[in-house]
Chain length 261, copies 2
Amino acid sequence: MAAAAHAMDGAAHAVPHTVGILGGMGPAAGADFVRLFVQSCTERLQALHLPVHDQGYPEHWLAQVPVPDRTAALQDRSPGAHQPGDALLQATGRLAALGARSVAIACNTAHAWHGLLQERFPQITVLHAVREVAALLRLQGVQRVGLLATQGTYRAGLYRTELQREGIECLEPPEAGRERLMQGIYEGVKAGDLELARRCFAEVAQSLHSGAGAQVIVMGCTEIPLALGEADVGIALLNPARVLADALAREAYAPCAAGIR
Amino acid sequence: MAAAAHAMDGAAHAVPHTVGILGGMGPAAGADFVRLFVQSCTERLQALHLPVHDQGYPEHWLAQVPVPDRTAALQDRSPGAHQPGDALLQATGRLAALGARSVAIACNTAHAWHGLLQERFPQITVLHAVREVAALLRLQGVQRVGLLATQGTYRAGLYRTELQREGIECLEPPEAGRERLMQGIYEGVKAGDLELARRCFAEVAQSLHSGAGAQVIVMGCTEIPLALGEADVGIALLNPARVLADALAREAYAPCAAGIR
């Protein structure tokens, strides 16, 4: 009892780390990521028995910067102005300069540049959304997942590689389904037509579930959860942004959690 | 026709200004402000006939920093660690260093420090949410508004002063109603209990409408719209964060709008 009270006291005095969010890909998804992160922080404050008030949240910075299209860049890897690497590096550097100890990338496809960012900024932790998702699915005992993503994410094999590493099968739609998803992402969410987006995403999710037997559908592009909900499809959906937001909150509150271990 | 095409071409090449958002008061309201700002930018891109895609949005940075409680500080103006001024100045300075030309403060009560921020950072425009709201209400011909706000905002007379300047009457609840609002804000939204918050806010909004004859209810604290909607009260509600987000988008796209004037 006394030990617990003492530990609680230590936790109450620990200051959470400053963290950063690399957004703008697209901007609505970046905004939604902050909402999810704040929600994860609230849950973590409650779990740590710390008071939930404005001053209990970690300092965090959101960079919403214009980044060249990620999928287009993965189709043509020749160096040039359309490459996202420079924009991502510059924003990461500014987040590091603001004091961020960990950074989350609010875009699945941009994780193709994760290695570059982590290598150039070894002093910070660049979280990897796909690895966090794969680890969670393994813990949940899921064996077959259906992946909704951009052509860039499919092409780079981002989920396939990480899921296979955890022994999970990754089901991907055929070319026509991928084109349908790109239509939902670009002509739908990014252009402000959420109804079109919902139809495109639901159709492909249904076929991965009924046709291919996916137990869970991973919404592997941050634009997808902005238009699709479980009520639209009646299938278990996993939002990697939610998982990544939890991971960023875990990093931010590490000093506080250490106090009550 | 040719002139219009030329002007459009000029607008398409103009780069929007970088802008900043001063948040963390509370963090959920800051996240919601980014959502509203992105929405305002989408509408502005459409109005300017510019393509709506990720790269069309202005670079923007959200600072969610721990700021001492604003209402508590307005009760006791003696200098000390509990004053929000330093935290607000530091975050504004960092937003300016990131290149922000205009900054929006995502907290009504913090506008009590607006003069300080604008005076110390004359090189940027610090938008004033309350003045934007008062100007809009005058344009709409509204004569009597009911104000839901924190004790700090009432005490500082933030809305009263600006609304009177525009010839609009500002109806404020009696002390018991103010306490009920503070309960909704602190024990409700800031502590994660949205149901309690909704009950508190709806009750006071109803009494300002039926009892005092307010035509519009101004939700003059960024926490209030997170729990209250028009469907809850059946009265016209104005969200100053929406008005401020529009103003920030207007500032960001000024270079593009100039091209097609």
